[in-house]
């Protein structure tokens, strides 16, 4: 029997434990880990087959193609974020933690990004090469994806949190999340297209950075509130 008044754990310990747990689950479920990445790879490689194999044509659509595919791959992996926890009751345990929910939700979102967003960022140059993206745009592509994909995870988390209690979700998740993520897509793809034309990019980066800062500070709060509604 433990003492009835134990020392209170710091928020950081709970944050770290949640991050570690979600990464562990992702590692143990390799399918969930690989599916979004394979999807990303397949969608991008279909474009040269479906549109045209002309290098000039592909150069023109490269930025948009990679960005749209990254967005769809991120959507595909969102469902893993809370579904299993909702079904096995872990989500209730998370909500009943005395620690601020903001940090616990943030930990889950970071884990989701590390598993689904980061691989996409790392794989992007390979696909850009396949689509004849000019070499000087590689870094821009990676940097915009690096700033943009965390925003996709954070915003997507709100949508999943809202719909996790619904029996049949179908397209509703996409309907909620896609409109929110459109600005990221526009700025990200535009930045890569602009750098291919030799334009300066300061504004694009600041806008993406601002979106990231905004969603880092606000999205987990919205997700936490949505989760509370979903378990009600």
């Amino acid at each position: 029997m433990t003492a009835l008044t134990g020392p209170q754990v710091s928020t950081f310990t709970a944050f770290r434990a949640t991050l570690r747990r979600d990464l562990l689950i992702a590692l143990k479920r390799r399918n969930d880990l690989l599916n979004p990445l394979m999807f990303f790879l397949i969608v991008v490689s279909l474009f040269p087959l479906g549109v045209s194999s002309d290098p000039q044509e592909l150069t023109r659509i490269a930025a948009g193609t990679v960005w749209v595919s990254a967005l769809l791959a991120s959507m595909l992996s969102l469902d893993n974020l809370y579904r299993a926890d909702y079904e096995d009751g872990s989500l209730e345990q998370l909500l009943l933690s005395p620690q601020p929910l903001y940090f616990l939700v943030l930990a889950k979102n970071i884990a989701h990004w590390l598993v689904s967003g980061l691989p996409v960022v790392l794989l992007a140059p390979l696909l850009a090469y396949m689509l004849y993206l000019p070499a000087d745009a590689y870094w821009t592509l990676m940097l915009t994806l690096l700033l943009g994909t965390p925003v996709l995870s954070l915003l997507g988390s709100i949508g999943v949190a809202l719909t996790v209690g619904l029996g049949s979700r179908g397209l509703i998740l996409a309907v909620i999340v896609l409109p929110l993520t459109v600005p990221v897509l526009i700025i990200g793809a535009k930045a890569v297209a602009d750098v291919s034309l030799g334009l300066t990019l300061g504004m694009h980066y600041s806008l993406l950075g601002a979106l990231l800062a905004l969603s880092l500070s606000l999205a987990p709060l919205a997700s936490a509130a949505a989760l509370k509604i979903s378990v009600n």
């Binding site: 433990t2 008044t5 134990g6 009751g89 872990s90 209730e92 345990q93 009943l96 009600n232």
Partner: protein, 212 residues
């Protein structure tokens, strides 16, 4: 001295059906209270309301005399809730599950986890994936949290359902130990509890708290 948990004039309605209204109860340190009622009488709903998982109710809840929403963190720090869904991830091992769910409250060492698993009858199961366990064993993994948690108030929703005879006896022992140590337990079950301490009953069918 305030009671640990006090509910006042609780009212809850679901799908135009009143589950309970004007429900008053007090839970003091050292109390073991069994919530009774037929299927669908709102036992689970009541427990979820008390924990703050369900917000669609009317009435007042007090934790140590203070309205619960005023100091929700203090309340959560003293609460351990085990629901219908046991909160055990099937992909993780028993040890990984417990390490996380305890870290949400207060972190525990590996030795403590193994000792707790031993006491709930899962010796040697610390590193077994929970998918490979029976429902009763998974239930026991979640019950190990009772031994690892410093919480004063235990809220347990049907903790006996999948347990075998030994498991039932073990859990009854844990409940008795906890109230003896000054904790409080609120439990729903259709199983006839046999405990050495006083058992109070809160019936949702015909209202009122009775001592057995």
């Amino acid at each position: 001295m305030h009671p640990l948990l006090r509910g006042q004039a609780l009212f809850c309605e679901r799908d135009d059906r009143v589950l309970f209204s004007g429900l008053d109860f007090e839970l003091k340190a050292g109390d073991l209270m069994q919530v009774q009622g037929s299927n669908g009488s709102g036992k689970t709903t009541l427990l979820r309301i008390l924990c703050g998982l369900n917000a669609s109710y009317e009435g007042e809840l007090f934790w140590r005399g203070v309205p619960i929403e005023e100091d929700h963190e203090a309340f959560l720090a003293s609460l351990l809730y085990l629901g219908h869904r046991v909160g055990v991830n099937k992909i993780l091992t028993a040890r990984e599950n417990l390490r996380w769910s305890c870290a949400l409250h207060s972190p525990v060492s590996d030795a403590e986890i193994e000792a707790a698993l031993r006491r709930v009858g899962l010796t040697g199961y610390a590193d077994v994936t929970c998918r490979n366990m029976s429902a009763g064993q998974q239930q026991r993994v979640s019950l190990a949290r009772l031994l690892l948690s410093p919480a004063t108030l235990w809220v347990l929703d049907e903790p006996f359902t999948t347990l075998d005879v030994h498991g039932v006896r073990m859990l009854e022992g844990l409940l008795a130990d906890h109230v003896e140590a000054g904790g409080a337990v609120l439990v729903t079950t259709h199983h006839a509890l046999s405990v050495p301490c006083t058992l109070r009953r809160l019936s949702l069918d015909k209202r009122g708290v009775a001592a057995a």
